[in-house]
């Protein structure tokens, strides 16, 4: 063999220097290899799992210690995109270790969902897959959603539950405020099922405003609505004196004559009622018309007394033009076609009494500082520009100014807004909940020239609104359809024909719901025709004697003509029938005196009905349900029987419990109730 290919002899010994290099490099390599295991060994979750086992051991929970499975614990739900490792540290969410009060070992409070079903971060936010306390809970460069503060937690529910949800009062309140404060006039808030929140504040049109009030009042009002009425929902636009003067000039200039302006005001309705009794009589009329069901007035102690369905009337005398008020009381819809106020059909004397009573409610201070120079053409033109820029027409109808489109940012996905798109005010914490809350709290603090006005809201209302807005995430769009639970939609039902015209005139749907449309202030009338007897209904419409004497909100008297009463009665008895039964099928023979006697026993002794109802004014005191003293004249036997068997089947919102009565018990009780025929209004 040839020796030429043989390698040269190996050097027998490395130099000291080479050894040193080799040693250092190996050490560095060893250390760097040890970093990962060390990080793992000293990780937060390992530390917490050790202390958990220690606590469990101290309490001699041998089973707990033995059955404990260490390591990273992960909840993975592909269809929801959930990868949560929270349970690696929060090892006691099920509460196996009793009485652990410190985090991370607290038991999860009771919620209606399984933790395995949804994971944690869907509701709590934070970074689910993270395995260190810092990364999981707080904002990092790579993750901008920190853990949600507890006060906004209900926003998690709102991603799937789109309607009112029992057990989530803040979410419900926040959603209601978005509508009632008019937020959704300017902002679009659409839900994952396509439902778009609608405003429910009913702002008045300004097209005939000059008839209603003075320029000075408009000026003072738009500068600070809450100084006129503490409960006003109109926000403060923080206008300066000049802008407010120009806007008031324009609003007066654009006003046209309303259809009511041609109505003659009879002298009878303007004449101040004579006599010392007039003021008492007027106050009685205000009370008897149940104005305070909807309108509030501040009493001497400064508390608002009355409902918030219509505007506060504490200083209404400083606002309205007397003739406008008289025409308004005579027929509100002629001025404001979409008003919720009923047409009371008052006679001229009543109009005079009530207008005199309301006009006396004034406060000379309110307009004391409103001294305006006469409006110039320049001022009007500038006012129009301001009105357009400020977006007044988003809420109010104004001649010559179209409602602006896309006036404010769409809030449909505001709960997932990327922080990079958010402009924070200086000194603010950089997270979404604080941003939304600060924006509602004081919108103009984010910079001058911003358009959003300042609303008068309490801290808890702002928290509620923030909760509702945080629920507007874009997760829900990717969730399986069956998880989305839509809220009840209002129908667009309106009664038809001549009766429908009268019911619209009386604004029945402001208080009563029928077939899924209407208010919740008074009973649902969807099946009223099956429930009541003709004679009673006619009598009630003529003179609504309240069934619940203890209530403050009651049905007012509308001065209906006999013809109108007949039309309404016919319609209600025909159109509002429950499909479940025929009112004639109840066997009248079963309702005999024996049955009634047994029913009386059941009423008083077995079921204690008198604790909520009054069957006999002399002995019974129950004030929860309607008085039953003349129920035999009011309800049909078939309805009464069905009602007793299952009240919520007939009116889902009723608070009358279902007593699970047997058939014969319900029949006997019906027989007893049908014997109660005391004269209407037979009071205590």
């Amino acid at each position: 063999m040839d020796n030429n290919n043989q390698p040269g002899p190996l050097r027998s010994r490395p130099t000291l220097r080479e050894l040193a290099y080799f040693g250092v490099v190996s050490l560095v390599l060893l250390v760097s290899l040890a970093i990962a295991p060390a990080k793992n060994y000293f990780s937060d979750w390992r530390h917490y799992q050790k202390s958990y086992l220690k606590i469990a051991g101290e309490r001699q929970s041998g089973t707990l210690v033995r059955s404990f499975q260490g390591g990273i614990r992960q909840t993975w739900i592909a269809k929801l995109g959930v990868v949560d490792r929270c349970e690696s540290c929060h090892v006691n969410l099920t509460g196996a270790l009793v009485g652990a009060t410190g985090q991370p070992f607290r038991k999860h409070p009771i919620i209606p969902h399984d933790l395995e079903q949804f994971g944690c971060a869907i509701c709590h936010r934070g970074q689910g897959p993270a395995t260190s306390v810092e990364e999981a809970h707080y904002t990092t460069e790579a993750w901008e959603q920190p853990l949600l503060p507890a006060r906004y937690l209900e926003s998690g529910c709102g991603q799937c539950h789109l309607g009112p949800l029992q057990g989530a009062p803040r979410l419900n309140e926040g959603r209601a405020l978005l509508s009632s404060q008019g937020c959704v006039h300017c902002h679009i808030v659409a839900q994952p099922d396509g439902n778009v929140l609608k405003p429910e504040d009913n702002p008045p049109p300004l097209t005939h405003i000059a008839e209603k009030t003075s320029r000075e009042w408009i000026y003072a009002w738009i500068r600070n609505p809450q100084s006129y009425a503490a409960s006003a929902t109109m926000p403060n636009f923080q206008l300066n004196e000049q802008d407010a003067a120009d806007i008031s000039a324009f609003l007066m200039a654009q006003s046209t004559a309303s259809p009511t302006s041609h109505i003659e005001i009879t002298t009878a309705s303007t004449a101040a009622a004579p006599g010392a009794d007039a003021s008492t009589e007027a106050a009685t009329l205000y009370g008897a018309s149940f104005c305070s069901s909807c309108h509030a007035v501040q009493n001497e102690a400064g508390n608002l007394v009355g409902g918030n369905f219509g505007p506060e009337l504490t200083r209404v005398g400083a606002k309205v033009n007397p003739d406008w008020l008289r025409r308004w009381l005579s027929n509100p819809a002629a001025y404001h076609p979409a008003t919720r106020m009923p047409h009371y059909r008052m006679d001229p004397k009543q109009v005079a009494l009530l207008s005199g009573f309301l006009l006396a409610k004034k406060d000379s201070d309110f307009l004391a500082n409103a001294h305006l120079a006469p409006a110039s053409a320049d001022s009007v033109a500038r006012g129009k520009k301001l009105v357009t820029e400020t977006g007044c027409a988003a809420c109010h109808q104004i001649n010559g100014v179209n409602p602006p489109q896309n006036f404010a940012p769409d809030l449909t996905h505001v709960g997932s807004r990327a922080l990079a798109q958010v402009v924070f005010a200086p000194g603010m914490k950089h997270n979404l909940p604080d941003y939304i809350s600060a924006k509602i709290h004081d919108p103009r603090s984010f910079g001058p020239g911003l358009k959003m006005p300042k609303f008068t809201l309490g801290e808890s209302q702002i928290d509620a609104l923030t909760t509702a807005l945080l629920s507007q995430t874009d997760h829900a769009a990717s969730f399986p359809k069956e998880l989305i639970i839509s809220g009840g939609r209002t129908s667009n039902y309106h009664p038809g024909g001549e009766a429908g015209r009268i019911m619209d005139d009386l604004r029945c749907l402001s208080c009563h719901a029928i077939n899924g449309n209407g208010g919740d202030m008074a009973p649902d009338l969807t099946w009223e025709g099956s429930a009541v007897q003709r004679a009673w209904l006619e009598d009630f419409l003529k003179n609504p004697n309240t069934l619940r004497p203890a209530l403050i909100r009651r049905m007012p008297k509308f001065n209906l003509s006999p013809g109108e009463i007949k039309t309404l009665t016919d319609y209600i008895l025909t159109a509002y029938q429950s499909p479940g039964f025929d009112a004639q099928t109840m066997d009248a023979h079963a309702l005999n005196a024996d049955a009634a006697a047994r029913g009386k026993q059941l009423f008083y002794a077995k079921y204690g009905c008198q604790s909520c109802h009054i069957a006999d004014y002399k002995n019974d005191k129950g004030y929860v349900g309607p008085a039953l003293t003349s129920v035999g004249n009011r309800l049909t036997p078939a309805w009464t029987y069905k009602w007793l068997k299952d009240p919520s089947a007939l009116r889902p919102a009723t608070i009358m419990p279902n007593f699970s009565l047997k058939d014969d018990e319900a029949r006997d009780l019906t027989a007893f109730l049908m014997t109660l025929k005391a004269k209407q209004g037979g009071g205590k």
Partner: protein, 238 residues
């Protein structure tokens, strides 16, 4: 080894810096001997929320008159206060907002004011946080129970409590209700008073409420009980 003194110096400087960054402690201008509640105790609120009404506390001197300028500091497990410390105003009072923690149940507010001779006067207030289950219970309570079990009337409803005999127990009446077992109360709600030999004035709600709702009402009753309800079983420290 050269680095050690530098490290020590830097950390010392950091610690000192951190200490200085906190708000300067308030100095009391006067001292009282007693601290009392004006309003704000025993409120109900959702977990994590700010209490609907602020806490109003008053510091009195030995003569029983309010003391102006006394220092009141507040703390409590799981609670946050704004501000944490405050001097009493001209009427001897402080007004403080309190925010509840994550967990449903009781929270103890501890208010302290230093006494002139050292030591301090303290006052404990109880606040109640409602979690999901208690909120459902409250919703059911507000719809069905409150008419007869709450003596307060509002414009929307008139209390029926005074019309009933025997009078229903208020849910806050821990003295009575704490002595009844969960099973008995559940039975009462589901099957009415007669189920336990009590008055038929209490109707049966088994066909009206879902079992989960009855459980929620029970949880609400236990949460608002005064004196507080103690669950049976072993108690552990933290």
């Amino acid at each position: 080894m050269k680095l050690l003194p530098i490290t020590v110096l830097i950390s010392a400087a950091l610690v000192a810096g951190c200490k200085q960054s906190g708000p300067p402690p308030l100095k009391p201008a006067a001292y009282g001997t007693q601290i009392t509640e004006v309003s704000g105790g025993k409120q109900l609120a959702q977990v994590g929320s700010t209490l609907p009404q602020p806490l109003v506390l008053q510091v009195n001197g030995a003569d029983g008159n309010p003391v102006t300028g006394a220092l009141v500091s507040l703390h409590g497990d799981g609670l946050q206060f704004n501000p944490v410390q405050k001097l009493t105003d001209s009427s001897g009072q402080v007004t403080v907002e309190a925010q509840l923690g994550f967990n449903p149940g009781d929270y103890q507010v501890i208010a302290e004011t230093p006494k002139s001779g050292g030591g301090s006067a303290t006052l404990n207030l109880r606040e109640i946080a409602l979690g999901y289950e208690q909120a459902v219970g409250k919703a059911v309570n507000d719809q069905y129970c409150i008419r007869c079990h709450d003596p307060e009337s509002t414009p929307e409803r008139v209390s029926n409590l005074d019309n009933l005999s025997p009078a229903p127990h208020q849910f806050t009446d821990g003295g009575t209700l704490n002595r009844m077992s969960d099973a008995d109360l559940t039975n009462m709600i589901a099957h009415g008073g007669p189920a336990l030999g009590k008055s038929p004035q209490m109707p049966a709600y088994a066909a009206t409420l879902k079992p989960a709702e009855i459980k929620a009402v029970l949880s609400y009753i236990r949460t608002v009980a005064d004196p507080p309800y103690q669950t049976p079983g072993v108690k552990y420290g933290k």
